[in-house]
């Protein structure tokens, strides 16, 4: 049985690539990095590995229990089936799309995933802002169908590791758009910048992990338009703080406060509805923000190309 964690092997490469991107930033975009933001991002990454070690056992136990009830049996030497690996990779990426989409559309899930979006910067260190509290959501349920199909939990852990490694390099502003065939199929820095953007037109778009085709299939794809507007990163209500623990737990605290104050019939909605939803309309969801922006856009003239756009400077958008 394979005993292999691809992410552990990738960590030195992550550090090296961050270093290279910092050198790029020094030459081209000093504001692409901010030391305190970088420290918070990296501490997030370290903390998430500790949280995974301490809390991940529950998910492992659930998966092995579910594996006993698998529909198909790939045999004792399941790792020797060559076709199972690419098939599991693709299906796991489809699963990732849906768990990620739920992570943005259900506040309970968002409370754990918001960590990844909490930086106003978008660089390779941002990729390491991984959740500490994923265990306290129902995210693992999305993987259960794959286990029940017969994919061994270890196989899924390995392909999931490769999925995570792929997603590291797309967290950068140093790469513009890639060849059209690649942009059409794969998730790229351009597509993922859109995902991290707080510009109304980009909110809740491009949930893909590796293959952008899922967004195109399920109607959540948005093309990056650097010639029209600069991207702003982070969350709708920026934290304005580098406090690591606040960044980790702020949404959980927000949910608890909202549920405490809300009338009984609305309490669960603060957990299960989309982020920004309120029973009295005092805040805005991403759909409300986009709609009001679209109304304002309809009333204005065509936008001009912004000056000093870091994404289009020196190259023409394709």
């Amino acid at each position: 049985m394979p005993d292999f964690s691809p992410t552990e092997f990738a960590v030195p490469a992550f550090v090296l690539l961050i270093l290279i991107e910092m050198i790029w930033a020094r030459k081209k975009r000093p504001d692409a990095y901010e030391p305190r933001d970088t420290l918070t991002s990296l501490a997030f990454g370290l903390g998430s590995t500790v949280a995974g070690t301490l809390l991940g056992g529950f998910a492992v136990w659930v998966f092995f229990q579910a594996y006993d009830y698998r529909i198909f049996d790939f045999g004792e030497q399941w790792w020797t089936l060559w076709w199972a690996w690419p098939l599991a990779f693709v299906l796991d990426d489809l699963k990732y799309y849906w768990v990620h989409r739920a992570g943005h559309r259900i506040r309970w899930m968002w409370a754990a995933h918001v960590n990844h979006h909490s930086s106003q910067h978008y660089n390779l260190s941002t990729a390491l802002r991984q959740t500490w509290t994923g265990t306290f959501t129902f995210g693992l349920l999305f993987a259960l169908p794959l286990v029940l199909l017969g994919f061994h939990p270890i196989l899924l852990a390995i392909v999931g590791g490769f999925n995570l490694i792929y997603q590291f390099w797309i967290h950068t502003e140093a790469i513009g758009k890639l060849p059209r065939w690649f942009e059409a199929v794969m998730n790229t820095p351009s597509h993922h910048r859109v995902h991290h953007a707080t510009n109304p037109r980009y909110l809740d778009r491009n949930y893909a992990g590796v293959f952008i085709v899922w967004d195109k299939m399920f109607g959540t794809f948005e093309e990056e338009r650097p010639e029209e507007e600069n991207i702003r990163y982070g969350i709708v209500k920026q934290l304005g703080s580098f406090n690591l623990l606040w960044a980790v737990f702020h949404e959980w605290i927000g949910i608890a406060q909202d549920m405490w104050r809300a009338p009984w019939r609305h309490k669960m909605s603060y957990l299960l509805r989309e982020p920004g939803w309120t029973h009295d309309g005092s805040r805005e969801t991403s759909d409300m923000i986009r709609n009001s922006w679209l109304k304002r856009q309809a009333a204005t003239i065509e936008p001009e190309e912004p000056a000093n756009n870091p994404i289009t400077n020196g190259r023409k958008a394709t």
């Binding site: 960590v11 550090v15 961050i18 270093l19 910092m22 050198i23 930033a25 020094r26 000093p30 504001d31 692409a32 990095y33 901010e34 030391p35 305190r36 933001d37 970088t38 420290l39 990296l42 501490a43 990454g45 370290l46 590995t49 500790v50 070690t53 106003q120 910067h121 260190s125 707080t198 109304p200 702003r232 709708v236 920026q238 934290l239 304005g240 703080s241 580098f242 406090n243 606040w246 702020h250 104050r261 805005e284 923000i289 009001s292 922006w293 304002r296």
Partner: protein, 138 residues
Amino acid sequence: MPTQSLIQLGVSLVAILALAWLAKKMGLGGDRRIRSEDEARKLADESVNGFEPVDIAIDRAGYGALLRDAQGRILVLRRHGALFAGRLITHRPRARLDQSLLTIEAEDRPFGAVTLDLGAEAQVWAASLRRMEVNNHA
């Protein structure tokens, strides 16, 4: 936790501190300031979707700004690292006026207090903050 994991943790901790130190040493982050009302207006719209200020007061060093829209909502902007973050002030905040310096505490404490050097305008803005409703839920 086995010894090997603890060693890995220690090495990782040293690596992240080294990277953050290096980012500081390389002078990354920039020194962005609010230089004009247009810039303050743009930052306000970025902070609160559709916020259109009718009154703007910019900190004399450009580290922040106070803005009011036609509905009387007040937005405070302050520099956060290399970028800016803002908060809508919906109820009377804790505020201190010290000659031209106005210090405002946003409702969420982690955002912190914002001190703006607004010159002669500081008193006018302090008075308008005092006229806001008190938050009875705080």
